[in-house]
Amino acid sequence: MAAAGPAPGAARGPAVPGDRPLTLPLLLPAWAVIGVFLVVPVGLMVVYSFLTQGFRGGVIWEFSLAAYDRFFLDRGLFGDEPPRLEWTYIAVFWRSLWQAGLATLTCLIVGFPTAWFIATRPARSRTAWAFLITVPYWVNLLIRTVSLRFLIRDQGPVNQALIALGLTDAPIQMLNTDFAVQLGLFYSYLPFMVLPIYAAVERYDFALSEAAADLGASRWVALREVVIPSVRPGIVAGCLLVFIPSLGAFLAPDLLGGAKTYMIGSLIEDQFKGSLGNWPFGAAVSVILLSMVLVALLFYARNQAREGRA
């Protein structure tokens, strides 16, 4: 096909010479909608984080650093003490960071072998497996979280089964613990880990493993020294796809964790609920969360660029 006349050139310009390019008018709707309804709002959110809190939600249009001051500095109960570092909100971020980090790690530990197993099936069952992993991703996240809540209640099926098996006498409290949040995050985002690694392993040249084996490497050494470096872009992508949504997760901490497992998502949500909220503070917390995500994405982009050169 490539040698058959002018057709390949058509991909790089108008199909017929003299056609006016339609690129701009075709892209305009996408630019307009995402620009006006996402980029502008995010910009506005940054502006709001520097405004004064309104009396019943909302803002007063006066410049103020109060939101960031509240986040980082403790000025005592009456605001007249010398400022010290405020730990309350940093602790919420810290808890979210390690919850998201740990969920990423457990997803990786389960996701990598799964992805490897799928990628080494014959073509037909490979597609079926990949499809089965994909389906839960498209199932309502709220319903998935609710179903976990149902499962791990004190009187839920899991505790009933444990008692029936004689493994425990009284129900084990799982709901409203850090464990429940971990389980929720793991369960919510596991497909995000499996799919990119699967895509990477599928492109992996198994002759490399054979070469390693011929040179006397055990399969575990080959995994560490040959396979993992080769499929690293997939692993990094998977980790990012789990880590970013886990960091801002709202449903898992809210429905599975209790007051003790307060995370960034709930902190933000509370600032916009009813008349007790503080919009500039909620906006500031969102700005800080978004900056952390941007750092993670930049790290990813740099990593990808390095892989590209290597």
Binding site: A4, A10, A11, R12, D19, P21, L22, L26, L27, P29, A30, W31, V33, F37, L38, P41, V42, L44, M45, Y48, G58, P113, T114, F117, I133, T134, V135, P136, W138, V139, N140, L141, L142, I143, S147, R149, F150, L151, Q155, G156, P157, Y187, L190, P191, F206, S209, E210, I244, P245, G248, F250, L251, I264, F272, W279, A283, S286, L289, L290, L297
Partner: protein
């Protein structure tokens, strides 16, 4: 012997475990939605009573209103987002290299990269600033925005597999640009469009976090109605609704997947 280096002991077990973890909770909820008992703890035999309760019980009007909002918003949001995505995909895939191409791709993928809760906050602030009262319209606009990348990806993937020679041949045979698009490209692209529309539809139908922020008082979609009820405890009728929503999602993903596979070979460059 080539199977040797592909096999790692224990990996099959972990993969099986992975599937079990993903499906077990959904299966349990689906089974308990058919529980005849009022208690959600004990099994009281098979029954359709909670499904009947959803449609005819005391909460039926509330669920019906929420379902109507959810389905109409999902239909409109998916349709508008898919139209925008098709236009964008044609420009991105068929225009070769142009200035701002990678920036445009980043813009289209932006809704996937910004954490949902941040999008929710930003959208709420935006509507509040321009003075648009939260309600049906604000939910619809927010949904159109985040549905675009979900509709775009399958359409663009399909389009890059269609040989431009088909359109070029039509133009050579004196088809106008519009005719070449309508009669040649659109039919070839149709599976990608269907696939993208279906994905956008379920993404809109399932959204909770953004909807919860921009819906305003008194307005409910199915997920926000479910969330409100679950806060007071998981009742069997909620499990019945959840199971129905689950079935819709699984049906739509399957259809989308099948649409993505049909005729892929026919349109590919030879």
């Amino acid at each position: 012997m080539s199977g040797g280096v592909r096999h790692y002991p224990g990996f099959a077990a972990i993969a099986a475990l992975c599937l079990a973890i993903l499906y077990l909770p959904l299966g349990v909820v689906a089974v308990y939605s058919f529980n005849a008992s009022t208690s959600i703890t004990a099994w009281g035999g098979f029954s359709w009573r909670w499904y009947i309760d959803v449609f005819q019980g005391p909460e039926a009007p509330r669920f019906r209103a929420a379902a109507w909002n959810s389905v109409t918003i999902a239909f409109l949001a998916a349709s508008v987002a898919t139209a925008i995505a098709v236009a964008a995909a044609v420009a991105m895939v068929r225009s070769g290299r142009f200035r701002g191409k990678s920036a445009t791709f980043a813009l289209i993928s932006l809704p996937l990269m910004v954490p949902e809760i941040v999008t929710a906050v930003a959208t709420l602030i935006f509507f509040s600033t321009i003075g648009l009262t939260p309600g049906y319209l604000t939910i619809l606009i927010a949904h159109i925005t985040f549905c675009i990348p979900f509709a775009y990806l399958p359409v663009a993937a399909r389009l890059s597999g269609i040989d431009p020679a088909f359109e070029a041949a039509a133009r050579d045979l004196y088809a106008s640009r519009g005719q070449a698009f309508r009669l040649i490209l659109l039919p070839l692209l149709a599976p990608g469009i269907v696939s993208g529309w279906l994905l956008a539809f379920i993404i809109s139908l399932d959204d909770f976090i953004i909807t919860n922020f921009v819906k305003g008082a008194g307005m409910e979609t199915l997920p926000t109605a479910i969330f409100g009820s679950v806060k007071q405890g998981i009742k069997p009728n909620i499990m019945a609704i959840s199971t129905m929503l689950l079935a819709v999602s699984i049906l739509f993903v399957t259809l989308s997947w099948l649409a993505g596979r049909t005729g892929r070979r026919a349109a590919a460059p030879s």
